[in-house]
């Protein structure tokens, strides 16, 4: 049943009793051509594009928890394509283009809202770095604007310009950046994949990966052995643990990133803004809550919850940027587990095992990448080779010295 205002009104007459489920609750088959491990944003998007772009059938997505229970359900919903390095920029811009047509594509309103992403700068060196970044965007046709202090003030007059420890000097604005209702992305992809025949199996935990003669043949799950010809791993946060099932060690650590939402407020801040003199970024959801976050706690963690020092750190930065936040109340905090990679960039690649593909290492930038990640991972699985958009996201780049390090922090995952 297509979603639109007419179907909504029609169903209201029957008390909404006749909606079809957005996805089935299938019993796992004995064998699939392709299994994707991880029913989060990237896994569901991968299945969706495998079916839609490559016409493949007989696909399953296995999710150990509930659909979208990973980082797709616990991020700060920001989309942007303000990257700098040649290996990153085209990929994220492709993701942005997919976002821009996503809802019509999968017939689900995920509230893609391009209200702008503004990064503030506070020093000459930061402004020079933004100029470099902005030009890297513009040179490839991505929108970017360098704002001076007065242009920032015009957008956000209630930020601290007069009493700040680190005065705002300007900012880099990407107007096409914005936010998306994160759960809606998972649900839209799930519904789209399901309607194309993909089996989405929730509460199905993969316990082992079966490899015979260097070739993947299936997975052991809490619901029994499920065979497959190809296996895609999209378990960010837990990638190292998944990879251990085939004896692989990955160049990453798992870290907890906290995020927060305030009580609901009438429109307060229109776009996404990141502070440049501390760890704080904020946007306001359509429901009215200020959604904000900062840095990872800094210690290895799989706990999906953090501690107070980072809460204080983030909120101090928030009030430094916007003094009037002082009397706003933070409602809830939560944590997600990040695959913090050794250069801050992801991996979408084949592995040394035939039929086994890896999608990992998203650090805390995975949400905005969801469409392109799914699209490229689907291509990589379907064609057994990376697409040129994910050609730089190779697993062996650390061995060869071809890191993609936007922040220049090196092999220290908690600094990316």
């Amino acid at each position: 049943m297509r979603y639109n205002v007419f179907s909504l009104i029609k169903n209201s007459f029957s008390g909404h009793k006749n909606w079809e489920p957005a996805w089935r609750d299938p019993v796992p088959q004995k064998e699939y051509d392709i299994i994707i491990v991880g029913g989060g944003g990237h896994g569901l998007a991968t299945a969706y594009y495998l079916a839609k772009e490559h016409g493949l059938k007989n696909i399953a997505v296995l999710e150990k928890g509930w659909l979208g229970s990973g980082n797709i359900g616990r991020n700060t919903t920001i989309i942007r394509s303000n990257y700098m390095l040649p290996g990153n920029n085209p990929f994220y811009e492709w993701s942005m283009k997919l976002w821009e047509n996503l809802e019509q594509d999968f017939n689900f309103n995920a509230m893609v809202s391009q209200r702008g992403v503004l990064n503030l700068c506070h020093t000459d060196a930061q402004r020079d770095a933004f100029a470099r970044r902005g030009n890297a965007m513009r040179i490839d046709g991505v929108d970017a604007e360098l704002l001076d202090r007065e242009a920032v003030r015009e957008m956000y007059p209630f930020f601290d310009y007069e009493n700040a420890r680190f005065p705002i000097k300007g900012g880099l604005l990407q107007k096409r950046g914005g936010t998306v209702r994160h759960d809606g992305v998972a649900w839209g992809y799930a519904r789209g994949a399901d309607s194309r025949g993909v089996d989405i199996i929730q509460h199905c935990e993969v316990k082992g990966i079966k490899v015979e003669n260097g070739k993947v043949v299936g997975v052991d799950t809490n619901r029994g052995l499920i065979k497959c010809k190809k296996l895609g791993l999209a378990t960010a946060g837990n990638s190292s643990e998944t990879a251990k099932m085939v004896g692989m060690r990955l160049p990453m650590e798992s870290h907890v990133l906290q995020a927060f939402v305030s009580e609901g407020l009438k429109p307060y801040i229109d776009g996404v803004v990141t502070f440049g003199a501390g760890h704080f970024y904020v946007s306001q959801s359509d429901k009215g809550g200020l959604v904000f976050g900062g840095d990872i706690d800094g210690y290895n963690s799989y706990a999906r919850r953090g501690n107070l020092p980072m809460v204080e750190h983030v909120i101090e930065a928030g009030v430094a940027m916007i003094p009037s936040l002082s009397r706003v109340r933070v409602l809830r905090s939560w944590g997600g587990i990040m695959d913090m990679s050794m250069d801050g960039s992801p991996i979408i690649d084949k592995t040394h095992i035939e039929g086994l593909y890896l999608n990992a290492g998203w650090c805390y930038g995975g949400f905005k990448a969801t469409p392109a990640s799914g699209w490229c991972f689907a291509y990589t699985i379907a064609k057994d080779e990376p697409h040129k958009l994910n050609a730089a996201y190779r697993l062996d780049r650390f061995k060869t010295g071809h890191m993609l390090d936007e922040k220049g922090q090196g092999a220290t995952p908690n600094l990316h």
Partner: protein
Amino acid sequence: MLIPCPHCGTRPVEEFTFLGDAAPTRPTTNDPSTMEAWYEYVYLRNNPRGAIEEYAHHSGGCRSWLVVSRNTETHEVFGAVPARDFTRAKGAKA
């Protein structure tokens, strides 16, 4: 989270800076044949869900590097030893 610093006593986590798994050991030779070992030392991590021994710098305290035993899933802290002792013990074992 509280870290039992062997020098300062139990101190809050905000005084510490973490550097990840202490298991990888820096190779002791620059022989070109050891490139793989160097790559693994610099880049590959076990990244365990559960018990870990990790480097933590008491940067806001005595400035000792420690090796803290902790559980990454529960955040339970079991103890901490000076990194110097940890390294020497590892060297003695090797």
